[in-house]
């Protein structure tokens, strides 16, 4: 029996990313975790080294599954002062493209703009996503979530305390 070739459409990926964005903007972070695999990692490279390797160069965020889950727990708690009360965010996702399918993994890229509003200050994060998705039990999930900023620095944003 031959293995069925993985079929996925751009629309399906778009729907997936739009729904993920909704969960993040609505701070439904526990439900958001279900959009990731158990072994998922989350990376935000340094602004001056977008192609860096997290094992040898300094990033802004390099979460393994443990840190990622702790991050969610912290953000939903009362002691993440940077996000208490929560910032308001609004994500715009576009230019969604399927870049390759190898076995059960799907590489996708997209552009993002995330507006963060906090105490009347609006800050903009712009960049691109380079994600690796898998299909598990007919559900798409992200195994590697990478948000690469197109900023020279976090000035004036100051922090990345939201999930990009």
């Amino acid at each position: 029996m031959t293995a069925a070739k993985l079929v996925v459409t751009r629309q399906e990926i778009e729907d997936f990313l739009y729904e993920e964005a909704t969960l993040l903007d609505e701070w439904r972070l526990e439900e958001w975790l279900e959009f990731l695999t158990e072994d998922a990692s989350y990376y935000v490279p340094a602004t001056d080294l977008p192609d860096g390797d997290h094992r040898s160069t300094l990033f802004l965020i390099s979460d393994d599954p443990t840190r990622l889950r702790s991050r969610v727990k912290q953000l939903l708690g009362r002691f993440a002062h940077a996000e208490n009360p929560h910032s308001r965010t609004r994500r715009l996702i576009s230019n969604v493209r399927i870049r390759g399918i190898e076995g059960d993994t799907i590489r996708v890229t997209a552009n993002f703009v995330v507006y963060r509003v906090r105490q009347e200050q609006v800050d903009t994060y712009v960049g691109r996503y380079e994600h690796t998705l898998v299909r598990q039990k007919n559900k798409l999930r992200i195994r590697e979530r990478r948000a690469i900023l197109d900023l020279d620095s976090l000035r004036p944003q100051g922090k990345v305390s939201i999930i990009l």
Binding site: S62, R67, Q74, D152
Partner: protein, 431 residues
């Protein structure tokens, strides 16, 4: 509300044990202008680390004390900090962040400089009179530059004391950091460039403030406990000391709750690492003797070198510098420092350790940023004129959660702003 005279900005009441800072220090444009003249143009200012430009021709560009500069190693191997402005009509001669070059050519009129900063090419040079001498038109530099253990400093004050004298007691703490390597320390690639909507001096205070560790960083401490990151021997206290190092520098040194790659084990490093770290500590003892080795491997230190260099040797080592753009906005640059010879596995562990706390995406720094921005917003209540920085003023040996280290900064700040020396001298213990 009238501006109060500079002498009155600090209340230093040693008799009663009260220290107050007038909050105009954080909000006044006039005071910022004075700081630019009397601090940032008088003192030694951190420019970068030699490891960032390891090979001849290497360069990186950045702003230091508000000036765009090129940190470069010439083909002669010599490190220079060149001011990034063409000596013809002013344009940047280098517009790239980092790279390797034999020459810098200004795109405007094609004047060309070698990587020592000498002017080597002027199109149509015959148009100039005999008085024109290209040797006088080299790329400019700060009048003074020097380095210690790879840390490069510049000064715009030609008469500033020698760097080693200036560093005073801080030298010891740079040694404690750098002795973690048998070879040398290096800045890891990848910079954390961010900003804070607050006065730069709030970050000085925050960077070595032990008192805020538990309330501000509660979520980090919970995380650390959950993942087995705590060294349980010292889990609940930041026992340690604060010290005045002279010239406005100060430090807190303590036994930390977290693990250190050099060389303090915590459970989440895994059992295999325990023996490795013990061996590393033994090696330190062989090199330095028990006492220095204990300090190097088993303690953490939050060091501030006046006016704007922080080196926090905590669960990883960060080098952090910052500069005021306006009274309520600063730009911060931070890097990771590590032993050059560290294994790939240890480097990864170290960087993971770093990011759990430090940097704009960590579990701690963003909360500091939030606190400082909140203070700056609170300053709009001008009727609350004074910040209190009195903790531990009557103690014989102030600890990390006292505020001696912060008072040390302010006393030196006040000296330079007003032009009057205080009674305190280097190493003086009191208050």
């Amino acid at each position: 509300m009238d501006n109060i005279p500079l002498e009155g900005l600090i209340i230093d009441n040693q008799q009663d044990g009260l220290f107050r800072v007038n909050r105009q220090a954080f909000t006044s444009q006039e005071i910022l202008a004075l700081e630019k003249g009397r601090l940032f143009e008088r003192c030694w200012i951190y420019a970068g680390h030699e490891s960032e430009i390891p090979n001849p021709g290497d360069f990186c560009t950045r702003r230091v004390a508000g000036r765009p500069v090129i940190l470069t190693r010439g083909d002669d191997g010599v490190v220079r900090v060149l001011l990034n402005t063409c000596t013809h009509r002013g344009a940047f001669v280098c517009r790239e962040q980092t790279g390797n070059a034999k020459t810098f050519q200004c795109p405007y009129h094609a004047w060309t400089y070698n990587n020592r900063g000498e002017l080597v090419g002027v199109p149509g040079e015959d148009a100039y009179s005999a008085a024109f001498d290209r040797r006088e038109r080299s790329l400019a530099r700060a009048p003074r530059m020097d380095s210690y253990r790879g840390f490069i400093f510049i000064s715009f004050n030609p008469a500033v004391e020698d760097l080693l004298d200036y560093l005073a007691g801080a030298k010891e703490f740079l040694d404690l950091v750098c002795d973690q390597s048998e070879v040398s320390m290096e800045i890891v690639q990848g910079s954390q460039l961010y900003s804070i909507r607050a006065n730069w001096k709030l970050l000085v205070e925050n960077s070595f403030d032990g008192y805020h560790a538990l309330p501000t960083h509660q979520r980090y401490m919970s995380f650390l406990a959950e993942i087995g990151g705590m060294n349980m021997a010292t889990a609940t206290r930041l026992r340690g000391e604060a010290r005045n190092l002279g010239n406005g520098h100060a430090v807190i040194e303590y036994e930390p709750p977290w693990g250190r790659l050099v060389a303090r084990w915590a459970p989440y490093f895994g059992e295999a690492k325990r023996a490795e770290l013990e061996a590393l500590q033994k090696r330190l003892e062989e090199r330095f003797g028990a006492e220095w080795a204990y300090r190097v491997g088993q303690t953490s230190r939050n060091l501030h070198i006046f006016p704007n260099l922080v080196i926090n040797d905590i669960m990883a080592i960060t080098v952090r510098t910052f500069f005021p753009v306006s009274p309520d906005y600063m730009e911060v640059s931070a890097w990771a420092l590590a032993p050059r010879e560290e294994s790939v596995e240890d480097r990864t562990l170290r960087l993971d350790n770093f990011l759990t706390f430090l940097g704009p995406g960590g579990f701690a720094t963003p909360d500091d940023v939030e606190m400082l921005e909140s203070c700056q917003k609170g300053f709009a209540n001008r009727e609350v004129m004074w910040s209190d920085i009195s903790r531990g003023m009557k103690r014989a040996q102030p600890g990390t959660a006292d505020e001696l280290q912060i008072r040390t900064f302010w006393r030196r700040w006040h000296e330079l702003i007003t032009g009057t020396p205080t009674v305190q001298t280097a190493g003086q213990r009191a208050a």
